[in-house]
């Protein structure tokens, strides 16, 4: 066997980073807190750079257990970008927290590791372990905050619902294993076409799909997510909404496209139904929300519906669109959550009505929020539009015009509740004596990155599109 373990360097660095942070937390005195964040940041940058080294490479090792291909690399980079932005957005938050500095960043690093394992997983076991590493660590980060009962509640809900859903997922995976006799994803397809479609396979597929639908929070498997998004610390919510969803999508796509194309006629209809329900319900329920995190949670649910369109198209273009949109979604959603974080840090409220007059109190926050919401709504000139254009093109290409219609109409519904936020920010009047909202440098950096990326990718999307295309081609 050729020695290709050097391809694991990114994973190794992340793992070492997590452990290092954990150990340093025991050694360094409590007063030295800033260092952890910066260490985490620089570590993530290094990891990101190391993934760039493997750009475009394809390799498998350990008998197909682990796969490095552009698809995986794309998602790894996506996760790393999200993590980087979240760490930037967390610095101030953690600083205020006053405890668990090192553990916090180390957990983030382990989440990243879990996600990287997931997206690179070539077999079900690796995927499962990565998934659980990610989920469990998220549970910890959701619930660890002291004096915050909703956080604990969210953690419990996530743990129990996540546990139950992964039991179902696991049940499904066990059936897939039973039906094919292997856990290597890319070996399955051959066996399935030899054996034909058995009912156990279908059962396994449905259970697995149910598990994935849970992770990407597609309606009606979404029910956990608004509560957890609302209860979790906001940086974690951002990370959860963006990266965990993206990682789940990565595996979802990899398994269903690579292993189960013979069942496509079955799962595409299911996914279509889920996508429609997701787009409709997510957007409708977001309308009456008064808490911005919860509103963004529902909007994230709806976004998953759009991303599913790429899978429904089941084509190179569709997957490209899915990848592109996921990346666009990272910047937009993290940007929006970063504004929420910055606002919460200063004002201590997540209520939409408290955003009144934000445009006067902090033009930057308002502008970033505005642009990010526009991107989430899929309007030009933002990355969200480019992504949605690709998605809708992909589904219309496959003849699902009605689906595109529902999608676009629902994104117009989403404009309504996004505009409510804009309304408060720009049209509303701040209370008497409201101070300008100051933003820390790190948050400002995150905000500006999100803003720039969202607009740049909306105007000039060739580079990202090419990356996504390369990634999508590696699957087919």
């Amino acid at each position: 066997m050729e020695n290709v373990f050097y391809l694991l360097i990114p994973e190794l660095i992340v793992g070492v980073l997590g452990l290092l942070l954990l150990v340093l937390g025991l050694l360094v005195p409590k007063s030295e807190t800033k260092g952890f964040g910066l260490l985490a940041l620089s570590g993530l940058v290094i990891v990101f750079l190391s993934t760039i080294l493997y750009q475009g490479q394809t390799a498998e090792f350990l008998g197909g257990m682990y796969v490095i291909d552009p698809f995986a690399t794309f998602f790894k980079q996506l996760v790393l970008i999200a993590a980087f932005l979240v760490v930037l957005a967390s610095l101030e938050y953690v600083g205020k927290l006053g405890y668990h500095f090192s553990e916090y960043y180390s957990c983030l690093a382990f989440i990243v590791l879990g996600m990287m394992m997931m997206v690179s997983a070539g077999d079900l076991i690796t995927f499962y372990v990565g998934l659980e590493l990610m989920t469990l660590t998220f549970v910890i980060l959701t619930a660890f905050e002291k004096k915050k009962a909703v956080g604990t509640e969210a953690g419990l809900k996530y743990l129990i619902l996540g546990g139950m859903s992964s039991a179902v997922l696991l049940y499904g995976l066990s059936l897939l294993y039973g039906a094919t006799g292997t856990t290597i994803i890319k070996d399955m397809v051959g066996i399935i076409s030899d054996n034909g479609i058995q009912s156990i396979l279908v059962l396994g597929m449905v259970f697995a799909l149910s598990g994935f639908a849970f992770k990407i929070s597609a309606v009606p498997f979404h029910m956990w997510s608004p509560d957890i998004y609302e209860g979790a610390p906001t940086p974690i919510t951002a990370f959860l909404a963006v990266a965990s969803k993206a990682a789940a999508f990565a595996v979802f796509v990899r398994i269903f496209i690579t292993a189960l194309p013979d069942l496509a006629h079955l799962w595409i209809v299911i996914v279509t139904v889920l996508a429609v329900l997701t787009m409709i319900l997510g957007n409708l329920v977001a309308i009456p929300q008064t808490n911005i995190k919860r509103m963004l949670a529902y909007s994230s649910i709806a976004q998953a519906g759009y991303i599913l369109l790429g899978l429904i198209a089941f084509s190179e273009l569709g997957i490209t669109a899915l990848l592109f949109y996921s990346m666009a979604y990272v910047f937009a959603n993290v940007g929006a959550f970063a504004v929420v974080i910055a606002f919460y840090n200063k004002v201590g409220s997540d209520q939409i009505k408290d955003y009144s007059g934000l445009a006067r109190r902090s033009p930057l926050l308002a502008a970033v929020m505005f642009v990010c919401l526009i991107s989430l709504a899929g309007l030009p000139p933002t990355a969200g539009f480019a992504g949605k254009l690709l998605l809708f093109t992909a589904v219309i290409e496959q003849g699902y015009v009605w689906l595109a219609f529902i999608g676009i109409l629902m994104s117009m519904v989403s404009v309504y509740y996004y505009l409510i936020v804009v309304k408060h920010m720009y049209l509303g009047k701040a209370e008497e004596g409201a101070q300008p909202v100051t933003i820390s440098v790190s948050l400002k950096t995150a905000l500006v990155i999100c803003l720039t990326a969202t607009i740049f990718l909306g105007l000039y999307w060739t580079p990202l599109l090419n990356l996504a295309l390369q990634a999508a081609q590696s699957l087919f």
């Binding site: 033009p363 254009l389 117009m412 505009l419 804009v422 105007l459 060739t462």
Partner: protein
């Protein structure tokens, strides 16, 4: 590549916005001057291309092209022809005058001009884009800032109106977007182009299947119908006009609504001539509702801006009538009407804004005899009103004349006893109703005995006169000597008509 004049026209406003972004908020004067200067650049260059455009050659000129996204065949491609050039000129005129019409504003000036200029870039972009991606991109860029502009600086139920307007227009754009995607996917099929492209010119060379045309044109019709606005999709427009601040009303009624007509011609009729023929009867019926209904509703409005708002609904019906008739004269007229109505309605809103700014009311019943205090405003308003009712010597007349003549010459029965000609007659009747409500408003607002209540109102003077003079000048210039404008438009309409004539004979929907 030669001098990128179109790109500069388009980008000048957004550059202005960037400059303003750097300026401190307190320097209101400098901000306004900056806005004026950058919009003036656009104006001058628009006039330059208006003059330099080679009408005898026709076609698309001043083309700039930069590859953008190869995978989807997207390129940054801009250019103008006889359809878009008048719109570009219109936009630059309206924005330039709009800046001056906002000279008296003092509330959050900096943000206002930033949004306004970004919006303007969007509008320019739509008109010059020759690539569907950029077309749609600019289209939306032109819509989004509207929400904030109306919501923050507006009046009278501004939040409601802003939301309504934005949602209506966005929903309209949904239909257009689906049609756009369907079109380029369709054209990419091997039997047509064989490669995927969003180049509007290349897509125009494809002959689409009739069933597809019917479907796609309907989408375009509904989509752009929201913008035009076509009855019954129109209710956003009076509310929006009323709520918007002066410059936005001007830009909005003057230009944004034209995006609908422009889009319908440029994308709808041009790509799907058969579809257009199929749906023309529906357009014709609805547009007459627009004309007559809009005019009648305008008659009983109590708010000056509502009158103008509904008059826009009515007048844009003529544009649709011109499109429905699908012949050279009517299409010439439709484009000319978009131009003329844009100027006219901008003038209206500039004047109403002027009055409102000073009197803080727009209720017609409270006014009366304002001509005593504000003779210049009154004169301007009367001229705008005369333009609105299609008086010869003003640009609108030429446009309406062409539309009527074009529509009148269509010999087609639509439904039962309703023929195209009858609808054209009803349309012409619309100008009688227009005369009635315009003169009523003029009478109740400006004429009659002097009211001491309004003695504090000052007449327009100095910088306030800039928009009034420019807009009236344009109306008269192209009213008395329309040949440059109409020839230009015609050079753009000719290929369109050739396409319509080449299209298969297909009956209307009924």
């Amino acid at each position: 590549m030669s001098f990128p004049i179109l790109s500069i026209i388009m980008l000048a406003p957004v550059l202005g916005a960037l400059v303003i972004l750097m300026l401190p908020e307190k320097e209101e004067k400098i901000i306004k001057i900056t806005a004026a200067v950058f919009s003036f650049i656009s104006l001058v260059l628009s006039i330059v291309i208006f003059i330099m455009y080679d009408k005898s050659a026709g076609g698309i000129q001043f083309v700039e092209q930069i590859p953008w996204v190869d995978y989807l065949g997207i390129s940054y491609k801009v250019g103008v022809d006889g359809l878009s050039l008048p719109m570009v000129l219109l936009t630059s005129l309206v924005i330039f005058t709009g800046v001056f019409a906002s000279w008296d504003m003092h509330n959050r000036i900096k943000e206002f001009f930033i949004f306004l200029l970004v919006l303007t870039t969007g509008v320019f972009g739509v008109f010059i884009s020759l690539d569907l991606f950029f077309f749609y991109l600019f289209f939306e860029v032109a819509l989004i800032p509207m929400y904030v502009l109306i919501g923050v600086w507006g009046s009278t139920r501004k939040e409601y109106a802003a939301m309504k307007l934005t949602l209506y227009l966005l929903i309209g754009s949904v239909f257009a977007l689906v049609a756009i995607i369907a079109t380029f996917l369709y054209a990419a099929a091997p039997e047509y182009l064989g490669f995927i492209t969003l180049d509007m010119v290349a897509l125009g060379t494809v002959t689409y299947d009739i069933a597809f045309q019917k479907f796609a044109f309907l989408l375009m019709l509904v989509g752009f119908g929201f913008l035009v606005p076509m009855w019954p999709l129109h209710t956003w427009s009076p509310d929006g006009h009323v709520a918007a601040p002066t410059a936005v009303s001007m830009l909005h009624a003057g230009v944004i609504m034209k995006l609908g007509g422009y889009g319908l011609i440029r994308l709808g009729v041009f790509y799907y001539p058969e579809g257009a023929k199929y749906w023309a009867p529906v357009i014709a019926l609805l547009c007459i509702v627009n004309v007559v209904y809009g005019a009648l509703v305008a008659m009983v409005q109590k708010d000056l801006k509502f009158v103008v708002g509904y008059s826009s609904v009515s007048h844009m019906g003529y544009v649709l009538l011109g499109i429905a008739a699908l012949n050279t004269l009517s299409l010439d007229g439709a484009v000319a009407q978009m131009f003329a109505h844009g100027i006219m309605t901008a003038l209206f809103f500039a004047l109403v804004g002027n009055i409102y700014h000073k009197s803080h009311t727009r209720e017609i019943a409270r006014f009366g005899g304002l001509a005593h205090q504000m003779p210049r405003v009154a004169a301007g308003f009367v001229i705008a009103g005369l333009a609105s009712l299609g008086l010869p010597g003003l640009n609108n007349f030429v446009a309406e004349f062409l539309i009527f003549l074009g529509a009148f010459s269509v010999d087609q029965v639509i439904l039962g006893f309703i023929s195209f000609r009858l609808l054209a007659i009803l349309g012409i009747l619309g100008i009688v109703i227009t005369a009635t409500y315009v003169l009523r408003v003029v009478q109740f607002t400006f004429f009659g005995p002097r009211k001491a209540e309004w003695d504090h109102l000052e007449d327009a003077k100095g910088i306030e006169m800039v928009p009034i003079v420019i807009l009236i000048g344009t109306l008269i210039l192209f009213g008395v000597y329309p040949a440059p404008l109409i020839d230009l438009i015609n050079s753009g309409v000719e290929p369109l008509v050739a396409k319509i004539q080449a299209a298969a004979e297909i009956g209307g929907i009924f």
